[in-house]
């Protein structure tokens, strides 16, 4: 597909991407996804869902079985130099050269990605990640958190337009996690597109502009985070009724969004907790007028987790 000349191509354009590994395992089943320039996109899914495979194909670590991937309009296979020089990858595992120094290994990464020598820039990246003090240390001397910072430095030092963070906060302490999110925001302000994978819902919630939910190699939902938050704003009032009810009286069902469950013993009311009028008081007095009594009441908030679990279950 050719982009119109006046239109900026998406940062990442994935079309019907599939991957079947040599053993026959189908890791991706025709995934299509566009990620816009400058957005933070979270790829959310359980372990083994295909998140890392997807990232690995875009970065060139895994050969695709079918479909196409473009980065800023360039094909990842035929124009791999163009795409790879624009992409940075922070892998999930802490894989580092044990005996190189921090400064040396970051400088190495810049050269490897085809950028001229620039020790001033390397210094800036190390300072941004609080690694400058450790610049002469050998990598194996670093703590786990420091190694994570180092991997980020290595991925950023060639000034990529697109940064992939594969499970960036796995095994990371609170401070680094906060630093990392600050860094991600700064990068976004510079116009860098960020794709992160996570199985922590809060992480997607906190950082992302859009969230894609992937399960069993299929992308089952892509939505603006705010729209997801809208769903999150929904609350449910659950009433245990005194007596079994066959149908909801029309006087109530016309005014309120109600549903019956548990064979008519539980009445659930869905409302927007952030709205000015939740309608709870009205509902309760209308219930009394309709001569309906209840033994217990409870409120529940639907979380992204619920939505996620629901989606995954619907798939089965």
């Amino acid at each position: 597909m050719q982009e119109p000349a006046n239109q900026v191509p998406p940062a990442i354009q994935i079309d019907s991407l599939s991957k079947t590994f040599a053993g026959g395992f189908e890791a991706l089943k025709g995934v299509s996804l566009d990620v816009s320039k400058g957005e933070i996109f979270a790829l959310l899914g359980p372990n083994g869902a295909g998140k890392t495979t997807l990232i690995s194909i875009v970065c060139g670590l895994v050969n695709p079985s079918g479909g196409t991937v473009k980065v800023e309009g360039f094909d990842i296979l035929s124009d791999y130099r163009e795409t790879r020089s624009r992409v940075g990858l922070v892998p999930q595992e802490l894989t580092t050269d044990a005996f190189a120094t921090v400064f040396g290994t970051v400088r190495f990464s810049r050269g490897l990605f085809g950028k001229p020598h620039d020790d001033v820039y390397v210094e800036q990246v190390l300072r941004d990640l609080s690694l400058w003090e450790k610049r002469d240390s050998e990598v194996h001397m670093l703590s786990g958190g420091m190694k994570r910072r180092l991997l980020i430095a290595k991925a950023m030092v060639h000034e990529p337009d697109v940064l992939f963070l594969d499970e960036p906060t796995a095994g990371v302490d609170v401070e680094l996690r906060r630093d990392m999110w600050n860094l991600v925001r700064r990068l976004r302000d510079r116009g860098v597109t960020i794709v992160l994978t996570t199985h922590y819902i809060e992480e997607a919630e906190e950082m992302a502009d859009r969230v894609g939910v992937i399960n069993n190699g299929e992308l089952i939902l892509v939505q603006e985070k705010n729209a997801l938050m809208q769903r999150l704003g929904e609350k449910r009032l659950v009433l245990k009724l005194n007596e079994r009810l066959d149908t909801i009286p029309p006087t109530l069902s016309e005014k309120y969004e109600l549903s019956l469950s548990d064979g008519g013993e539980t009445l659930t009311y869905v409302y927007d907790a952030r709205g000015e009028h939740t309608g709870i008081t009205g509902l309760l007095s209308d219930l009394r007028d309709a001569n309906l009594h209840f033994t217990d009441l409870d409120t529940e908030q639907s979380s992204l987790e619920d939505i996620f679990v629901n989606l995954v279950e619907q798939q089965r």
Binding site: A22, L61, R81, T95, D97, F108, L112, G114
Partner: protein
């Protein structure tokens, strides 16, 4: 061409050599020098000339070849195997580098190191042995060509091996015996006819013979056969490397 990447990998590899100077340079030079002392100075005086060359001098080209081959193979194989082993290969695979650039950098670094070792051994030999090199430029050419070919071979080995044992297997069980039986310590013409013909199947015979020719103007086979054999081996290795990168064999699932 991504010159910056080639330079980065090359420098990284040479820095690794510097870090492990004892093991990677001092050890091969020292252990080869022991042969000069024992076979050259101590026992060599008791042995007759071979092909009109003093025995101590006769073994020098073969011993340099022995070090050159084992060092090229093990150095290049380790250089590419280790990133695969510890996972840092991800960076290389995600970088905007062409396969020939990766090969130039890794093989270039491995070959540089073994040529350096070869020259150091040669310099050491002068202390113990009376040496006279007839064709120094051809000698140097042979040294470089062999180092490049066997570094390339080592590179293939490092991609093929999936454990440390396999990595050691070829240098120890294939390269070293072939070199010892390839005329390092004797002239092929000293063998019975059957063993002479069998020896001609050993590719290392051609390498040592050619290298010795550059020293003394004489070899077991003609210099052109030696050159042809070396270039043929280089071509096979290049073809295999090209195939590896095209298919992603052992590198990309």
């Amino acid at each position: 061409m991504n010159i910056y990447a080639i330079r980065a990998i090359y420098k990284f590899e040479m820095a690794r050599t510097q870090r492990t100077l004892l093991q990677s340079v001092v050890y091969p030079v020292l252990s080869t020098s022991l042969y000069f002392v024992i076979f050259g100075s101590a026992i060599g005086s008791q042995i007759n000339e071979v092909d009109g060359i003093a025995y101590a001098a006769f073994i020098v080209p073969g011993l340099i070849m022995l070090s050159l081959l084992t060092q090229s193979v093990s150095n290049a194989s380790f250089a590419i195997y280790f990133p695969r082993f510890n996972g840092t290969i991800y960076e290389l695979l995600s970088a905007p580098v062409a396969y020939y650039e990766v090969v130039i950098a890794y093989v270039g670094a491995a070959a540089t190191k073994s040529v350096l070792i070869g020259l150091l051994i040669l310099a050491t030999a002068y202390f113990f042995v009376d040496l006279n090199i007839q064709h120094p430029l051809i000698m140097l050419g042979f040294l470089i060509l062999t180092a490049v070919s066997f570094s390339l071979f080592g590179f293939i080995l490092g991609i093929w091996a999936d454990n440390f044992e396999k990595l050691q297997l070829v240098p120890l069980l294939v390269v070293t015996p072939l070199t010892f039986l390839g005329g390092t310590f004797y002239s092929i013409s000293m063998l019975p006819p059957f063993w002479q013909n069998l020896s001609l199947l050993n590719p290392v015979v051609y390498l040592i013979s050619g290298f010795r020719w550059s020293f003394y103007g004489e070899g077991d086979v003609s210099i052109l056969a030696s050159l042809g054999m070396t270039l043929g081996f280089l071509a096979i290795c290049l073809a295999v490397v090209a195939w590896i990168f095209r298919t992603g064999y052992r590198l990309k699932p």
